[in-house]
Amino acid sequence: MFRRVRALLLIAASLSAGCGEQADELVIVVIPKGMTHEHWQSVRRGAERCAADLLASEGRRVRIIFDGPLRERDAMEQIRIMDRRVATGADGIVLAPQHSRTMTACVRRAADAGLPVVVIDSGLADPDHFVKYVATDNYRGGCLAAEHLIGELKKRGKDRPKLILFRYAVGSESTEQREKGFEDTAKRLCPDAVWLSTDRYAGSTRDSAMREAGPLVFQFREQVDAIFAPNESSASGTVDVLRSQGLNGKVLVMGFDSSKPLLHAIQSGDVIGSVLQDPYRMGYLSTWCAVRYRLGEDVNANRTQMDLSTGEYVVTRENVESESIRGLFDPELQARRVIDVPRFPKRGAMP
């Protein structure tokens, strides 16, 4: 038995010899929440585009490794991937944390190992151990959603609309921000609105959203004027339910994020609008910040400017075909975009 182990180790040792890092290449590991959503593919393209631009503009070689858990709620696997990458060496990590608090320990481990971590997409409850937060301003996105929806309702003469806020999940920081932005703005713009329901949760999949939305819509089918669903799966599930109950187009749905079916629903009028993020820009800028930090630049003005917003955009039936909107998700148009990047001073320079 021991002889066998020794033989295997010998093979391993002989193979490991002769493998060395190329010294002048920076390796940036991009760790999304999951692998299957189109959102993360845009992040990946943005990161890779940034690497290509860096090579073209200043001859800097950057390698992007895109490595994430297969499923969005596989919390342990994301921790594993972080630890793996920290242990095996990289120059920077771009992380979309699945949870704002449980991911703190491994981010700290990365920081202890001297790796800069750029947090994207969702917040992390430990601002001391990462170098930049590149994300959509989700609160503002919620505000935009409320402004658009209330405007549409007023156009239809509904000055005292009856609303449903269909929440996503407990503990999800980004969607809670959207919900809060929506609630605050709607109450400000339309104090007389009636809130039929604000305490139901769609869960993480389109399926679970349908299961939850079904009884909810049925209960209020005679009253409800509009529903806000704070992400793609909850919006899609809501539309599915409205269609099955023959209420599509009659009840206004405001969504967040996009997918092909959701964009079709916007074109057909089943969804009145959605707020789009710019994941391509998110991937681009986060990679940019990680590289700049690695090159000794002060990317957060000595920890006073941690946040970098990537913008949020309302998509409606009118602008859904426009190049600026399509450039947010269409790979071909993404490739033609020019991303403006912030410039940073050298670290250690006196403030």
Binding site: M1, R4, L8, I11, A12, L15, S16, C19, G20, E21, Q22, M35, R63, I65, F66, D67, L70, R71, R73, D74, A75, M76, I79, R80, I81, D83, R84, V86, A87, T88, G89, H99, R101, T102, M103, T104, A105, C106, R109, A125, D126, A169, V170, G171, Y201
Partner: protein, 327 residues
């Protein structure tokens, strides 16, 4: 492995062959990938051991259950439940007593106990209600997962005030001297002793190999099985505590498909779903093989779906070869 006859040694033991095959595969990838080999770095060996600790502890329990001719589908859900129970108890004791060490000790004890109770429940369902283990533990799987979600109020529980106790930080850290890893080594040795040097172990193999014969020879089949599920539950409870530390949270969605991973590992390691077969070394090798595949697939930037395919193919090849040899 005391019960090794010349014949068994002469046939290259399945798990070793699998281990070699996976290593060779990644070795070939190393050559192909050229300069980016981080897979064989010392740091990664630490990572591999760290990642393997939890499945390995669960695998020790699963090994006992499989040898007895049973199966335990509830382990993943029980692990999740344990993380939630541990965090709940920690938070409650800390709030009432204000003592961190006291809260930690109580919470760990409660977590292990919760796992043990689930195991005893499985054992009672199997021995008293005569339910097939598949059904009994499938039921427990649902109950434990549901309890976990309920206790966690549908969310993920983090440490109160975001303050992580030191021991959790230590257990969560990748290191050759990780206490969780050391506990695994001790537990593995204990289980090996239990299996091969005690009457209980002997009776366990007998029950799995031929239950009727064991009964005829005066073996208390029920008590043996109950003991097996209770032990498996305690081990799963300990794994849950480790998961609690690794994940830094009480999270009811943890451990999804852990049961399948662990059963796969133990079967690749030479245990039989029919019972009567299996060793600690084999089970640990099985976990190592699965860990290598997951780790390697990630580090070589092989598409993640390959991980599932590789594991599936390896399982089939291993068992098919094992059966052929058995003839």
């Amino acid at each position: 492995m005391p019960d090794v006859s010349p014949k068994r040694l002469a046939l290259p033991a399945g798990p070793w062959a699998g281990f070699a095959a996976v290593l060779l595969l990644f070795a070939a990838l190393l050559g192909y990938e050229g300069g980016h080999g981080t897979f064989l770095s010392g740091g990664n060996l630490e990572v591999l051991l760290h990642e393997g600790t939890i499945p390995a502890v669960v695998a020790l329990g699963m090994l006992l259950v499989l040898i007895s001719g049973g199966i335990d589908l509830s382990v993943g859900a029980v692990v999740a439940l344990v993380t939630v129970v541990t965090m709940r108890v920690y938070t409650a004791v800390l709030a009432s007593s204000g003592s961190g060490p006291e809260a930690s000790l109580t919470a760990v004890a409660a977590g292990v106990l919760a796992g043990g109770l689930c195991g005893v429940a499985n054992g009672l369902l199997v021995t008293r209600l005569d339910l097939p283990p598949f059904v009994a533990t499938l039921g427990m799987f649902g109950v434990a997962r549901g309890l976990a979600v309920w206790l966690a109020e549908r969310t993920t529980l983090a440490f109160p005030g975001g303050v992580t106790p030191d021991w959790v930080v230590t257990v969560g850290k990748t290191s050759f001297l990780n206490p969780g890893l050391l506990s695994l080594l001790i537990l593995a040795a204990l289980v090996a002793v239990l299996l091969h040097l005690t009457v209980f172990g002997r009776h366990l193999y007998a029950v799995g190999s031929n239950e009727a014969t064991a009964r005829l020879c005066g073996v208390d089949v029920r008590r043996t099985k109950l003991g097996v599920y209770a032990l498996s539950g305690l081990l799963t409870g300990w794994a849950g505590v480790l998961m609690f530390a690794h994940s830094n949270s009480g999270n009811p969605t943890l451990g999804e498909q852990l049961e399948l991973d662990v059963i796969t590992a133990v079967v690749i390691g030479g245990a039989s779903l029919g019972g009567g077969r299996g060793t600690v070394v084999g089970a640990l090798l099985g976990v190592a093989i699965l860990g290598l595949i997951k780790n390697g697939v990630s580090l070589f930037n092989v598409p993640v779906e390959m991980q599932y395919i590789l594991i599936g193919v390896l399982l089939l090849a291993n068992v098919a070869l094992g059966r052929r040899r058995g003839r």
